[in-house]
Amino acid sequence: MRAGQKLGLILLLTPLLLWLSLLIIIPHIDLFLLSLRERVGVRQYETGLANYTTILTEPLYMVTFARTAMMSILATVLTLLIAFPVSYYIAKMARGRARSVLFLMCLVPFWVSELVRTFGWMILLRESGVISGLLQWAGLAAGPVEMLYNDAAMMVGLVYTSMLFMVVPLVTTLDSLDDAVIEAGYDLGGSGPSILREIVIPHAMPGIVSGSIVVFMLSLGNYLTPTMLGGKDSLWFTQMIYSQFIVRFNWELGAAFGFMLLILSSLIVWAVLRLTGQTLEKTMG
């Protein structure tokens, strides 16, 4: 009986342990060791921090690094601002069937691959695309308008891609807020904005933080959207990692880039948790 239970536990834990060790821990250790290796000659390596000093001293790398972080934060904030009213409507105002339909509508775009979704935006925004055509037809534009390949187009793509990951935690937390608590707020003299500030947002905070963390990480690690919708000035950090590994074949520097990204995202998530007074257990549990 005892032995049987033990065997069961081991069998249940095996996939988790395999996943953790094979896909997370071992590659990261290897990546870390790789990032500490510097190439001094053909097939000659030394251990040192040269790759990291390269990143810190090369302005392009640092600018891209900071830009990626800022743009990801901006994408997260925009996603939150758009998703919050949507989630509030779904969780608190829509009833019955309308509610499921609305929720489904948030989900529908995710039935197609990210590539197709992003390509959908290209069809809309490109020079010969739908919106450009409409503007010309309406006489608002003299010639074709190019709306692709800039930061705004990229931001639209990032927000669109992340929306669901913000809506789901927000709907869940807002759903758990008793309607009577909101009514009590009104009854005791609260106005709409003050109830939002003092009752709804504090209650939804775990959902806001967990949604923001997920969206931020997804944006930071996104490769496809910046590549397809972003312009030549919209270099994303993941593109640099890609070019080091695939184009330049400089795995050492690529690995160092990867580690910088990991440190960056961990730092920002930690800072956000500290600022909002939330803990990882509370937001993810």
Binding site: V181, E183, G189
Partner: protein
């Protein structure tokens, strides 16, 4: 000016949801400083009335006046009415002091003034010094009192209470009934209380309205409702009652003789209601109005006397009952006195029961 201005007046209040009428032409006034209850089964429309007074629902027609002024176009956050919600709806994201101070903050009162008022309110409800605690650290009864204090610091003209004792266990509920009544007296505010629990309404209220299917069946003091129910619904809903259906066989003014469908001959009264001979009638007799005796001679002064045997004894301390089965097989519930004389009563024992005719309330049976 003959009478002082009532705190709350509802005039021909009606609320329709689509084709269903939840509240049907209800009018009542609540004098200042009194405890008014609306008692009714769930779904009778009492919550709808309360939500209309609080301002969360708009009446389909009719008027609500508070201290003589119509509040129909006043939004809920501006009405001089506050509500204690069924599940209290304390703000879990705030501590107790912030919960109680919420309404004062919204009024833009100075911080020091708020702190003073909150402390005062906590003293009033007998929980001084708990301001810094979180909501979930409090017991059910304490939360109850905080929910009332949260409203009372705003000094509303009317406090609405929506079955606030429903979530408490029995012992605490009994205790809170007394406490609520005391709090009402201490704050000297008009309370409007809705409940489906008759004992809550009977114990606390100055006046009670019994509501059924969107209408008020009867309005009066607890004693009025208990002793002089005006409708069959009130007789059946307030207190327990044995009920029989039958036909009126004799009528002398208000006094009647009714032969039940089971063959039992009963005496009853129908004050203020005409019940001619031959009409179908329903008779209600309370178990506690029936005398139990081992010797029929003790019951000689009662005009309804029945002999039978004990079918079941339902022992429940002070509320113990005996089910007596008579010769026709009818079962009659009788209160079992706890004075000791029936301590040895056993199942199957022969007993005599009797009651005076004016304890039986007869109502005409509505024809379908």
């Amino acid at each position: 000016m003959t009478t002082p201005m009532p705190d709350l007046e509802c005039d021909a209040l009606t609320k329709r949801f689509g084709s269903a009428t939840a509240v049907d032409n209800v009018s009542f006034t609540v004098p200042a400083g009194s405890f008014f209850s609306i008692l009714g089964p769930s779904g009778c429309g009492k919550t709808t009335i309360m939500r209309m007074i609080a301002g969360f629902l708009e009446p389909s027609s009719g008027d609500i006046r508070i201290k003589g002024r119509s509040v129909l176009d006043v939004p809920p956050n501006k009405r001089p009415v506050n509500m204690v919600f069924q599940h209290l709806a304390l703000f879990p994201m705030m501590n107790i002091a912030d919960n109680i101070g919420y309404g004062l903050r919204r009024k833009g009162m100075a911080k020091a003034e708020i702190a003073r008022k909150v402390d005062e309110a906590l003293d009033r409800i007998g929980l001084p010094g708990i301001g810094a605690r979180q909501v979930d650290e409090l017991s059910g009864g304490q939360k109850q009192r905080v929910a009332i204090a949260r409203c009372m610091v705003l000094e509303p003209d009317v406090l609405l209470l929506d079955e606030p004792l429903g979530a408490l266990d029995l012992k605490l509920r009994e205790h809170m009934k007394v406490e609520l009544k005391a709090l009402q007296a201490a704050f000297d505010t008009t309370f409007v209380y809705i409940t489906h629990d008759q004992s809550e309404a009977l114990v606390m209220s100055d006046r009670i309205a019994v509501m059924n299917a969107g209408r008020f069946e009867q309005m009066g003091t607890a004693r009025d409702l208990y002793y002089r129910p005006q409708t069959a619904f009130v007789a059946g809903f307030v207190g327990d009652a044995n009920r029989w259906q039958g036909r009126v066989t004799r009528a002398e003014g208000e006094a009647l003789e009714v032969k039940t469908d089971g063959g039992l001959i009963l005496r009853a009264i129908s004050p203020g209601r005409k019940l001619p001979v031959g009409d179908r009638a329903e008779v209600f007799v309370r178990p506690e109005a029936i005398r139990l005796a081992e010797d029929s001679a003790q019951l000689s002064h009662f005009d309804t006397q029945i002999s039978g045997h004990v079918a079941t004894i339902l022992f429940n301390g002070a509320a113990s009952r005996v089910i007596v089965m008579d010769a026709t097989g009818a079962e009659i519930e009788v209160a079992l006195p706890q004075s000791g004389e029936f301590a040895h009563l056993t199942r199957g024992a022969g007993v005599h029961i009797g009651w005076s005719g004016d304890q039986g309330n007869a109502f005409a049976v509505a024809r379908p």
